[in-house]
């Protein structure tokens, strides 16, 4: 079952339980939220981003929602990764993430750039699961635009 282990790495199963950033923080300062929904499996997420006063960087990201372990782990991993990051850099990061996940296994996520989330590389080969992994990232992208 190498395929399965490649998808569900320890780190993913751990994050899917830990769920960093779960529970929406209060709306405070420059805050924006995004609700995303995957009609195929019914997964959904509400993600909130709070920016610094100038709007140039991310104070924190919190979220709520239900979904499979990939979507939960992916949201949890995202939280640690983008805290304190410049919004421009976060947008670039999300672009790289999307590109790798849509590559059908051809592009791996770099550990230096993606930290724990690099464990999501394996999802890229499972085309039906790419949307699960993307859900939180799309929500952040959308929220930053509105913030």
């Amino acid at each position: 079952m190498s395929g399965l282990d490649g998808l569900y790495q320890e780190l993913i199963l751990d994050h899917s339980k830990a769920r960093d950033g779960y529970g929406l923080a209060a709306e405070e300062g420059r805050t924006a939220s995004s609700h995303q929904h995957n009609p195929i499996c019914g997964d959904d997420i509400t993600l909130r981003v709070r920016l610094d006063e100038a709007g140039g960087s991310i104070r924190d990201v919190t979220w709520e929602g239900a979904g499979c372990s990939i979507s939960q782990a992916s949201a949890s991993m995202l939280v640690g990764l983008v805290e304190g990051m410049e919004t421009d850099a976060a947008t670039t990061l999300i672009g790289h993430f999307r590109e790798a996940l849509r590559s059908r296994g051809k592009i791996l996520l770099d550990e230096d750039e993606f930290g724990d989330a690099a464990a999501l590389s394996g999802v890229s080969k499972f085309t039906a699961r790419v949307k699960c992994a993307m859900l939180a990232w799309v929500a952040l992208e959308d929220a930053m635009v509105r913030a």
Partner: protein
């Protein structure tokens, strides 16, 4: 091939895809509720048609066209007979979704004053009621929602008991004077329960309402005699009954097909056309605009002959046996909740949908897939039913003629490992 009890191990040889491996494991295909696999005989029938006879039907005088027309109309007779109907009461569609939309739109057209004078009997007035059930597939729900929203009719829903059976007392109260259409499924694609068609038809008829049956999940699995069931209209899909994609049937009572206005319009369904107006052929052609799914009709006839070769009683017995083994096995696995777990004595098809406590359906499906077991996860196009059971998704295993006891056992063994893998429960 004319056995009275079905030997799935022998039948499997007829299905080339079942020799495939998935993730290094032999394929255990338990997603026939979504779409069935096709026996070689069906594939061959289509290929033979395309390489020897292919040409447009009902339109040419040349030899190929004449031969193709004969094959196409013979196919209609074969498929109609399979559901107990004469050929002229079977309309070709591209599937159940189109068949159900056809009925809803034709009623909408009657409401807009289209069709023959006799079509007026189908016209809806604001306040008229359309009754469906809480367990419908979206294909037998949304067309009625849209029809109601377009015409001012009111949509009402027969609720479901916790065990998955329909609440017939509520149905009795709901189906009344204002009821004009009662649309319901023969077998739910989530619950697998065979619904009491006769009772619902009797109630609808007593009020003069039109009955529309979704026979998608019964046609592949039980002997079907649509005229005997007394429904006015019934839709089914070829791809779920060992046939090709993009072909299906809509059965209708003769007078109903006669009086309903057409739905799709275009070539091959008219008698005369001027620039401003057209007159329509009698049914079934009235409902068959444009080039028909010709090779697919020939393929579906081959599928039906294949099923008849086995015998639909034998098919049903075999699947009941699988279904019982599946449900009994699932009941013994901790943390499993079956949807529609009826007591014994209620007729069913070989389908079980369930929730695994603490593990998302998508993850369950992925875990089974790694063992070669193909099941479906999600809401199975029955979101309101899932909501009724407090879920957004479930896992569904659904079998067909080619599934064996071994398939069920591999599936059960895999399911029993799910919670440990994902660290759910103890």
């Amino acid at each position: 091939m004319s056995v009275s009890t079905l030997d799935p191990v022998a039948l499997r040889a007829d299905f080339p895809i079942l020799r495939e491996q998935v993730n290094g494991q032999p394929l255990v295909y338990l997603d026939s509720g979504a779409t069935s696999q096709k026996p070689q005989a069906v594939i061959d029938a289509e290929v033979e048609f395309l390489t020897r006879t292919n040409s447009a039907v009902h339109r040419g005088a040349h030899t190929l066209a004449a031969e193709a027309t004969v094959l196409f109309e013979d196919a209609r007779e074969t498929v109609a007979a399979f559901v107990g109907a004469p050929a002229e009461q079977l309309v070709w569609t591209h599937g159940a979704t189109e068949g159900l939309n056809l009925v809803a739109y034709a009623i909408g057209n009657a409401t807009a004053g289209r069709g023959a004078p006799a079509s007026a009997r189908f016209a809806l007035r604001p306040g008229d009621e359309i009754v469906v059930t809480e367990i419908e597939h979206h294909a037998n729900l949304i067309p009625w929602q849209e029809l109601a929203l377009r015409t001012g009719a009111v949509l009402r829903h027969i609720p479901v008991h916790d065990d998955g059976t329909l609440d017939l007392d509520a149905a009795a109260a709901l189906i009344g004077e204002r009821t004009r259409v009662v649309a319901f499924t023969h077998v739910s694609n989530v619950l697998g329960i065979v619904n009491p068609v006769a009772e619902l038809v009797a109630r609808a008829k007593a009020q003069g309402a039109l009955t529309v049956l979704d026979a998608c999940q019964s046609a592949p699995h039980l002997p079907l005699d649509l005229p005997a069931l007394g429904v006015d209209l019934a839709a089914f899909s070829g791809h779920k009954m060992l046939g090709p994609y993009a072909i299906g049937g809509l059965y209708g009572r003769a007078d109903v097909l006669e009086d309903l206005p057409p739905f799709l319009t275009g070539g091959s369904m008219i008698t005369t056309v001027t620039l401003d107006e057209a007159e329509y052929l009698p049914p079934p052609q009235k409902f068959e605009a444009g080039t028909q799914p010709v090779s697919q009709a020939v393929g579906l006839a081959a599928a039906v002959r294949y099923l008849e070769g086995i015998g639909m009683d034998a098919v049903h017995d075999h699947e009941r046996m699988l279904e019982q083994r599946m449900r009994e096995g699932l009941r013994q696995i901790p943390g499993i909740r079956l949807l529609g777990d009826t007591p014994d004595g209620i007729d069913r098809v070989a389908l079980a949908a369930f929730d695994v406590e603490g593990v998302h359906a998508h993850d369950v499906g992925q875990f089974l897939d790694a063992r070669g077991v193909a099941v479906r996860v999600g809401h199975h196009c029955a979101k309101p039913l899932h909501a009724r059971f407090g879920l957004t998704a479930s896992v569904r295993a659904s079998a067909s003629v080619y599934n064996t006891v071994d398939d069920v056992d591999v599936f059960l063994d895999a399911v029993s490992g799910v919670r440990a893998f994902f660290g759910a429960g103890a």
